[in-house]
Symmetry: C2
């Protein structure tokens, strides 16, 4: 574990940076990567972003005004990547990462130097602190990347990880010229017709357990095909079951090609989502965690509900 000033030294003393994102890239890993890329280019370094897998189209604006640098020898920085397994298609970089910057306290990534600030709502908050220490002026391009990381990882300043600092970072980014309204509209307030359709179908599967404290929804491959939904349309679906009054554990199950279910757990009222998912070798944060469960729908759901019930009861 290193501190901020050591991380700043490493960024100052190297020249050719490849910045890696995690698989199924989200707003924080992408926003952090492109912000850091701009920052490094602004202090005269070569830098490029290696996106893991396909970048959802709605994030395209993050790449505006990025100059594509080409180089051989690389200094490798990971942003928001909490474990080797999250390198996905970039797995050839496992063990080769020089600097890891992240906000997940549970981080287990293999890297020469590790900067983790678990009290940051988003990795993008850490990138902002590094930019200040590097003396970089926050341009509009940097601002929109950092704002994107912060707003997406906090569900538009709604999740429990949001702090006073988060709001102040957002304020500084708006002052630096970022159009927060546009970004929030694209991220939270625009739904494709396919998305509306899959949401409607998922809502219809909702069942309640543990005296209404646990709600479960699911999607099948067939539903996704019918709605003509893509991966991108599925974002935010997992926040639906927990929204119901009285529900402290919301579970969303997504059927995978191999018949297993990819599971998202969202909790409130002090119930620990991570503890539920750990029972299935998954993990995450207090309020949001994930895992994969084998078995048919009914069996997998029963296992999940039993795990949720135990954690709910221990929480009393």
């Amino acid at each position: 574990m290193i501190n901020r000033s050591k991380a700043v030294d490493l960024l100052r003393n190297n020249n050719n940076f490849s910045i890696l994102t995690h698989k199924s890239p989200d707003g924080d890993t992408l926003g952090s990567a492109y912000a850091l890329c701009h920052i490094l280019q602004d202090i005269g370094k070569n830098a490029r972003v290696l996106v893991c897998g396909e970048m959802p189209k709605r994030y395209d604006y993050l790449r505006e005004n990025i100059i594509e640098n080409d180089f051989l020898e690389e200094y490798i920085v990971s942003v928001d990547i909490a474990a080797d397994s999250l390198l996905g298609q970039l797995e050839s970089y496992i063990g080769k990462i020089n600097l890891c910057i992240d906000h997940h306290p549970s981080n287990t990534l293999t890297a020469d130097n590790i900067l983790i600030e678990g009290d940051s709502a988003a990795t993008a908050e850490i990138i902002y602190e590094l930019a200040k220490l590097l003396g970089v002026k926050i341009t509009k391009d940097i601002a929109k990347c950092i704002f994107t990381g912060v707003t997406t990882d906090t569900g538009c300043f709604r999740f429990a990880n949001t702090t006073a600092k988060t709001h102040r970072v957002a304020a500084d980014m708006i002052d630096a010229g970022c159009d927060g309204t546009y970004i929030n509209r694209v991220m939270f307030d625009t739904k494709s017709r396919s998305r509306l359709e899959i949401e409607r179908m998922a809502r219809e599967t909702m069942k309640f357990f543990v005296d209404g404290q646990c709600a479960v929804i699911y999607t099948t491959l067939e539903m996704i095909e019918k709605a003509n939904a893509i991966d991108d349309d599925m974002e935010g679906i997992s926040s639906i079951p927990r929204q119901v009054e009285g529900v402290s554990v919301g579970i969303t199950m997504r059927e995978q090609e191999d018949g297993s279910y990819k599971v998202s757990v969202r909790t409130s009222d002090g119930v620990n989502a991570s503890q539920i998912c750990q029972k299935f070798d998954g993990g995450g944060h207090q309020g949001a965690a994930g895992c994969t469960v084998e078995g048919g729908l009914e069996e997998a759901r029963a296992k999940l509900v039993a795990a949720a019930e135990e954690i709910i009861k221990n929480n009393k």
Copy 2:
């Protein structure tokens, strides 16, 4: 029109305050009223809040630790009330208001002294500025009232009225001990089963017009009865149609007892919602406005779509 320091003088030089909210009270009028009530009591004044109509139950926490003061002679302050017609059941106060504090630039309320700050996202932001000028310490009780006003009037920091200042006010309130996560969860992330049901039914009525740029949904009295929905369950329904990709005008029609439709218009991409509603003697902001339209469902919808089409085309 008066300025802040004159408003502060009026608050300092009077003693018995009745603070009025607008009808169908929302988070900003209630949060502003209870914040101001705490502030005045904290500087030794008598103060009470007169809520117009019934206060939705989920706002109950705003009243915590309020001391009920009783007095005869009143100095009357209105918060977030933009017109005499919005006094509803408090209509006996029309013409008797001593100080009006509001953020609606279109304000037409009859009052002796009027403080309007149209660049504030919420009236609660103005109350915070007044508290600072009065030298009042922001207690946890004040903080949660102000945070509630700010977060509800900006749709959790998402609407176009959100500024850097809005985020800094939120940050200060969190620092003062307000639990923003709890408030946002209650305001935005908790839906009753009736709400889920009326939302599902309303979504099913969605129709598209003007090449997919205008979407309309409606609710009937019958639907509301079937879903067992109360007024409180209808909040946020009007944001649904505009959320669809490509839609710049989202219209929500709610059937009233007299057969007319109460209409909410939400817009984006520079289309002015207020201009659409003005055609039906309504009004509001650039991005959100309201009006009432007579006629059966089909006729009322056709009139609204025609008005929307005209404004969309003028906007090109």
